[in-house]
């Protein structure tokens, strides 16, 4: 009973602490029309120190969302356009020789920011991708002999174009796994499209975005997220979902056995739990329900489950596999 009271108090604190999200969302809605799910996923990733891989055709306001998000969250934003001729030094920085004092000085690259938009990450060679993904993992960068920690919060939002694969360097599975979520940016609805058209087809400058969040708000939110209660049933449910992607027959989905080349890694369980907590936080709850898990399951698992040859032949995507898993694994 005492624990329940604690959770109730925590719930109230969460409601209070999550107000900045609403403020930021309000600022975002000035510039961005629709794409609520994408924005929510960005908030979730930011709250649990995750990175996002955004996939969508050009012109869906991916850059605008991230830029506006950074502005509203009062975070330093850097956009890096990945190109085939890019070098790791273009990203992390390099040592510059100063002829006055005849010494080398480190010159920090664009990765030293809070929110990094790695535009078309698959256009750059593997060594540049590795440099960024290493920075994402280690949260520090070494230039010459000096190691520099990256600013907190540090968040990478990488974009990929799903329709152009000519001359691209596809991210290896091990590196894709480092992204907490892979979010599919879809087309806006009819009404949203209409609103976008009317709002954008003007010579007037776009509505200004006010920074409404302080770094301390994010730190506080992160601390509260760590306190969110996760019942053992939900813990097991998360593990069940991940294991079902590896051994579907155990969960009564034997038809998926040949459809999956490899299932989700243990990182999937970790990120599912973290993202569920952040989702519960956004719902002003001090505990996770299976609803939170289901809500972010697609985004957290889709890049971690690789459909096999048979699935590709039948045009079955990882989202279809996840749907089947969610439909067959019993909710606690």
């Amino acid at each position: 009973m005492q624990h329940a009271v604690e959770l109730e108090e925590l719930g109230m604190q969460i409601t209070e602490a999550s107000r900045f999200i609403e403020k930021a969302e309000e600022q975002l809605s000035r510039r961005v029309i629709g794409q609520h799910d994408v924005i929510r996923r960005i908030f979730i990733a930011m709250l649990v120190n995750g990175h996002i891989l955004l996939e969508g055709v050009p012109g869906l306001a991916k850059t605008l969302i991230i830029r506006t998000f950074a502005a509203a969250m009062n975070l330093k934003f850097q956009r890096i356009q990945f190109t085939p001729d890019m070098l790791p030094a273009d990203l992390i920085g390099t040592m510059i020789y100063n002829p006055k004092d005849m010494e080398f000085y480190p010159r920090k690259g664009p990765v030293f920011a809070n929110v990094i938009l790695a535009d078309e990450i698959n256009r750059s060679p593997a060594k540049v991708q590795s440099a960024l993904l290493e920075a994402m993992q280690e949260r520090q960068v070494t230039i010459g002999t000096q190691t520099f920690p990256l600013q907190e919060p540090f968040m990478v939002l990488a974009t990929q174009n799903p329709i152009e694969h000519e001359g691209t360097y596809i991210l290896p599975e091990a590196q894709i796994d480092r992204f907490m979520m892979k979010v599919i940016v879809d087309y806006p609805s009819y009404d949203e499209e209409l609103e976008i058209m009317l709002k954008s087809a003007t010579n007037a400058s776009a509505a200004p975005v006010q920074p409404v969040v302080q770094p301390v708000d994010i730190a506080k939110a992160r601390a509260l997220i760590d306190l969110i209660y996760v019942d053992p049933r939900v813990q097991r449910y998360i593990v069940d979902l991940v294991v079902a992607s590896r051994k579907p027959a155990q969960y009564g989905i034997a038809s998926l056995e040949t459809m999956i080349e490899f299932g989700a890694s243990p990182r999937a369980s970790i990120f599912l739990l973290l993202a569920s907590k952040a989702h519960a936080f956004l719902q002003h709850r001090a505990y996770i329900t299976p609803e939170d898990v289901k809500a972010i399951a697609y985004d957290t698992l889709r890049h971690r489950i690789r459909p096999g040859y048979e699935a590709e032949a039948d045009n079955i995507r990882s989202d279809d596999i996840i749907r089947q898993i969610l439909q067959h694994v019993q909710v606690p």
């Binding site: 329940a4 019942d231 609803e291």
Partner: protein, 320 residues
């Protein structure tokens, strides 16, 4: 002179007996070749085989003993090329038999036509001296017969025995009824399964999910009274409600979260769905938010659940 000739005769007889004894085992071993003496001694005609089919070949060996200083030739042998014989090839060889005596062997390969018992045609043996003058010309008519069998269906088979076609171990026609039978049995089984499934479904439909849920709730209440911990009671209550919703409204409830059930029930326009959602939300709090209701709260929830189920079942008679 007579004695002398008698002596010669008895000597030749002796030789003949010796030759016959010597030839007997050969004739016994090689039964087929037939040896026949011509009308004049010193000329032998041998045929092998003595029985052939029309068109087959025979070997005819004509041996002529003669003084070593004379030359031997056969004449009229070309006439062998007249029907029913056709000369295929010929060979000639000579050997010294004894001092002053030589033997000339003429070997003919002949193709035989016609039918029945045929005699080798007559031929002449010509002896010439060393200068080529004809010394002697003797005509011979061999009594050696060759049996030529005509080709009939049966003989054709004897010549080239044609293997009968290999019959399959189980001919298709034998299989066909078996296959048809298997299909018929499979069809019958499928039909039976179909009817069985339908009857099971019908009987399951006859069992009212509300009745099942009510029975489970009554059991749960008695277990709660017997000291069941309230959190467990709520977990059980949530399962009963989900099973009921799944079977009654035909929605996926056991694998769905509360919010999904809410969406489905809203879509269906279920009356009193707020009460259902309250119950599920309360159960969720117990399950996921570590909420600890007391026994009285649990009893109230059970009563609410029974009401919800009863209201969803208009045909259910009131509980006693």
């Amino acid at each position: 002179m007579n004695r002398r000739s008698e002596g010669y005769a008895s000597g030749s007889l002796k030789w003949l007996v010796i030759v016959l004894f010597a030839a007997l085992p050969m004739l016994t071993v090689c039964a087929l070749p037939v040896a026949a003496w011509g009308a004049v001694s010193g000329v032998t005609v041998t045929l092998a085989p003595d029985s052939v089919f029309v068109g087959d070949r025979i070997h005819c060996i004509i041996g002529v003993r003669h003084p070593a200083n004379e030359l031997v030739a056969l004449e009229g042998i070309d006439s062998l090329s007249v029907q029913p014989f056709e000369l295929i090839s010929r060979k000639q060889s000579s050997s010294i038999v004894s001092l002053g005596t030589a033997k000339e062997s003429f070997e003919f390969e002949l193709a035989v036509f016609g039918s029945g018992r045929l005699l080798i045609p007559p031929f002449s043996v010509v002896l010439r001296d060393s200068e080529g003058k004809v010394i002697k010309r003797d005509s011979y008519r061999s009594s050696t017969l060759v049996l030529v069998k005509a080709l009939t269906d049966s003989t054709m088979r004897e010549i080239r025995p044609i293997k009968p076609p290999i019959k399959p171990l189980l001919p298709f026609l034998l299989f066909l009824p078996v296959i048809l039978g298997v299909f018929a049995i499979a069809g019958l089984v499928l039909l039976l399964l179909f009817f069985l499934k339908r009857s099971v479904r019908t009987s399951a439909e006859k069992v009212d999910p509300g009745q099942v849920a009510q029975r489970k709730l009554r059991k749960l209440r008695s277990r709660l009274s017997a000291g069941m911990p309230p959190p467990e009671c709520y977990e059980e209550l949530s399962n009963i409600m989900r099973s009921f919703l799944e079977t009654h409204y035909r929605i996926r409830a056991l694998e769905a979260v509360t919010q999904e059930i809410e969406r489905d029930l809203k879509k269906l326009g279920v009356a009193g769905f707020e009460s259902i959602m309250n119950l599920l939300a309360q159960a969720d709090l117990v399950k996921f938010a570590d909420s600890r209701p007391d026994a009285e709260e649990s009893r109230q929830s059970l009563r609410k659940a029974e009401e919800v189920i009863r209201s969803a079942r208009p045909s259910l008679p009131p509980e006693e």
